[in-house]
Symmetry: C2
Subunit: 233 residues, 2 copies
């Protein structure tokens, strides 16, 4: 167990391993080797062992990793032992879609509040029973509902202002869908999902026939460069 700084690339991979372990456990598999795990994701087995070794010695030499055991360790490392409460700001198409998406609850995230500043939307109740509230009550509601993570789904022009409101309310973890670079305060983490960049990256790929037409799932969050020829998954 080291105290080095853990790269975000490593923690992203831990998420992937955890998902796979959930499936393996459901399938009744008891142990898995780093090699077998690596083959599922086009990763190197040493990388998996290193990722895990940052947090402890979870494996058994000559055997591999006990699925149930490792699953539990990763769940704890990723802070997923208890539900985390999430609010969404911006109830346009995307915000609504996320609010109605059921996959979150299965993964320890619970939508606890919805905000918009359009008077025509405030007061509307979704299928889930949650009511859209005014952004004017954002601070109060976030604190009362113990919201830990906020999803920003407003237009780019409003995103920075929302970030300020949200951090002023004490939130330290933000998932931003607005296509803009946000300036976060120290101690606050902003993850931006930028669909324009993703699409333009595909456009670049189409425009520049790769000399060596290798491919793979290009998830740049698993490897610094996947894709191109790389992987990414």
């Amino acid at each position: 167990m080291k105290t080095e700084k853990i790269s975000e690339l490593t923690t992203n991979r831990l998420s992937v391993y955890l998902r796979c372990l959930n499936e393996l456990e459901a399938a009744g598999v008891e142990t898995i080797s780093s090699q077998a795990l690596a083959e599922q994701f086009n990763l190197n087995s040493a990388q998996i062992r290193k990722d895990l070794a940052y947090f402890g010695e979870f494996g058994v030499r000559g055997v591999g990793y006990y699925v149930a055991d490792l699953r539990q360790h990763l769940t704890k490392i990723l802070g997923l032992t208890e539900k985390r409460r999430v609010a969404i700001v911006g109830m346009g198409n995307l915000g609504l879609a996320l609010a109605n998406y059921n996959g979150f609850s299965a993964h320890c995230f619970e939508i606890a509040a919805l905000f918009d500043d359009d008077p025509g939307k405030i007061g509307t109740r979704l299928q889930s029973g949650l009511e859209i509230q005014s952004t004017q009550s954002l601070r109060e509601v976030i604190q009362r509902e113990n919201v830990e993570i906020v999803i920003i789904a407003v237009p780019a022009s409003a995103a920075e202002r929302v970030l300020e409101m949200v951090t002023a309310a004490g939130v330290r973890a933000i998932l931003n869908f607005a296509p803009v670079h946000l300036h976060a305060k120290p101690g606050v983490k902003v993850k931006t999902v930028d669909l324009t960049i993703s699409l333009e990256s595909l456009s670049y790929f189409l425009a520049n026939p790769s000399e060596d037409a290798v491919s793979v799932d290009s998830r740049e969050f698993l490897r610094p460069e996947a894709g191109a020829n790389g992987a990414a998954g």
Copy 2:
């Protein structure tokens, strides 16, 4: 102008530069230095110059880059001179939200077809006028409509099958929202946007109080690791 392999991190940053140049041009700014550009994104100015230098000598020493000129070069490099036709497979909440999202057309992407295999949805027409079609006609429609990019917005269990159909129809660029690792054939690029990983990454951040509470917009698609202690300085 080199022939080295261009990293996906570089092309992602080109998208960011282009967006900024669009704003600068609209604001009537004529030239910009790598230093000024770098400050907007917490990047190093040498990195920007290097990114651009892979593709040519676009700058003028002592002056900087002419905004209109560089904008045009980047548009061409990213293959954005003509509209790219996009299809969406899976008309659940997310697929619908993406289909109704207007930001695409502004960025040279045009939704050309929508697919689902739920008979209750097939034949439905969206606001845009586009009709949801059966996945059984996927190949035919994709070829007739000259679709170059497909967005997969189906459940994880169906994603691999959809990928096969789509690549069989000749599509080489896929944006995948299903939380699963897809296995792409050579010459095919898959970019996966995985919300579960993003949220779990935030959960990890909350669960592991960073010793040095520095922060930054952690877009791992701009730097191998942003955030944590990343860019701040």
